[in-house]
């Protein structure tokens, strides 16, 4: 967020923002900014491509040395990973009747990715993935949130569960190391998996709730704009 740059710069520290939304950079006018033509969520651009990432970082930091007044510069190279990978195939799993079954079938792909990267982005819910899948199945089948931890509301727990389930599916899609584009991964999740189809359905059901917190959860925090019906 470019406003933070102002407050840091006021303390005598040089700042540069790497930003993806040009109109916001133009409105807020941080001291120095590099606009990048990348998808939101990847300010350094293509994953597993340190060459391009270093180009971005070098150009951004270069503004500290060269800019004599507030500036917004463009990074000219598009993200090479925005192009669909021809060799990628979605994880080969049969149609399932529950998300818990689907998660079990995807486990081998997910584990491949964890081993190859020595890390996982799953973990914000601090709960085993199979329990999160079972929570999802319960909520979908009963159309009602369920409390599974005393220290956290059922609404927040469900949002964290969705984040972890999505991260698990993303890593399963990455598991064969064929470097798919984000669109390929999200196409598969939102159109082809049981989880994706049921999240889209659940969004519509929640939005009809008389409870504003539930309708907000459905409206804003389940399905990205791009995949909303």
């Amino acid at each position: 967020m470019s406003v933070i740059a102002h407050w840091i710069e006021q303390a005598g520290i040089n700042t540069v923002v790497i930003g993806s939304i040009k109109p916001q950079l133009e409105k807020i006018k941080p001291p120095r900014a590099l606009w990048v033509p990348f998808e939101l969520g990847r300010p350094l651009g293509p994953p597993s491509n340190p060459e391009v990432q270093l180009q971005v970082l070098r150009q951004a930091l270069g503004l500290i040395e060269t800019a004599q007044q507030a500036i917004i510069e463009d990074f000219e190279t598009d993200d090479p990973r925005a192009t669909p990978a021809k060799v990628w195939n979605a994880p080969g799993i049969d149609a399932m009747t529950t998300v818990a079954e689907e998660c079990a079938a995807l486990k081998v792909y997910y584990q491949q990715q964890c081993v190859s990267q020595s890390r996982t982005s799953v973990g914000v819910a601090k709960t085993p993935i199979i329990e999160l899948a079972e929570l999802f199945d319960h909520v979908y089948q009963h159309n009602k949130l369920k409390e599974i931890r005393e220290d956290i509301s059922s609404r927040l727990m469900f949002r964290l569960a969705l984040d972890d389930l999505k991260a698990y599916y993303i890593e399963a899609a990455l598991g064969n190391n064929k470097q798919p584009s984000s669109v390929q991964i999200y196409d598969w999740i939102w159109k082809d998996t049981l989880l994706g189809k049921q999240m889209r359905e659940l969004r519509k059901r929640f939005m009809e709730s008389d409870d504003k917190k539930i309708s907000d959860l459905g409206a804003k925090f389940i399905v990205p704009h791009q995949w909303r019906d």
Binding site: E9, S20, P23, P43, L54, S121, L174, F221, Q226
Partner: protein
């Protein structure tokens, strides 16, 4: 994808109408040779350490990631569903490029990569962040950091 004309309508409307504060007293610190820069990173991805408490949905505070913190310890805990998470899942440096910053320090491009990097929750209202952003600026000065690269998601 971050070009407005390539965004789906709902997302484009959201980013176009987002309230953006302006500054009449905008600060601008004089240019500095790159090889004198001691650089820290500030992400607004709502990052958390795996074993820490979750980032509250309206958090105005920042989290610190010191040199004991490995990429495998860092998670995104942002409330928005409207940004790509596949890149971070594959490569944490797309969001918090601390390994790349070390490369630039090792090849002499910059003077030093900070030992500690930081993250706010970018979804929090700008005015709410001011107090802790200024507190972080004091902390950075105490640590002798003279340059910051900010990375919104």
């Amino acid at each position: 994808m971050a070009r407005l004309n390539e965004m789906v309508e709902g997302l484009r409307t959201t980013v176009e109408t987002l309230d953006c504060p302006t500054f009449s007293d905008a600060a601008f610190t004089s240019a500095r040779p790159l090889n004198e820069c001691r650089v820290a990173l500030i992400s607004t991805a709502g990052l958390m350490r795996r074993n820490d408490d979750n980032v509250p949905g309206n958090s105005d505070d920042y989290r610190s990631f010191d040199k004991t913190c490995q990429n495998r310890d860092i998670l995104i805990n942002h409330i928005s569903v409207n940004f790509d998470r596949t890149a971070f899942a594959e490569d944490a440096n797309t969001v918090l490029p601390k390994d790349l910053l070390k490369t630039l320090a090792e090849d002499g491009t910059i003077a030093k990569a900070a030992d500690t990097h930081y993250s706010f929750l970018g979804a929090t209202g700008a005015a709410q962040l001011e107090k802790n952003a200024k507190r972080l600026a004091e902390e950075l000065n105490e640590l002798n950091i003279n340059t910051v690269c900010l990375l919104p998601v």
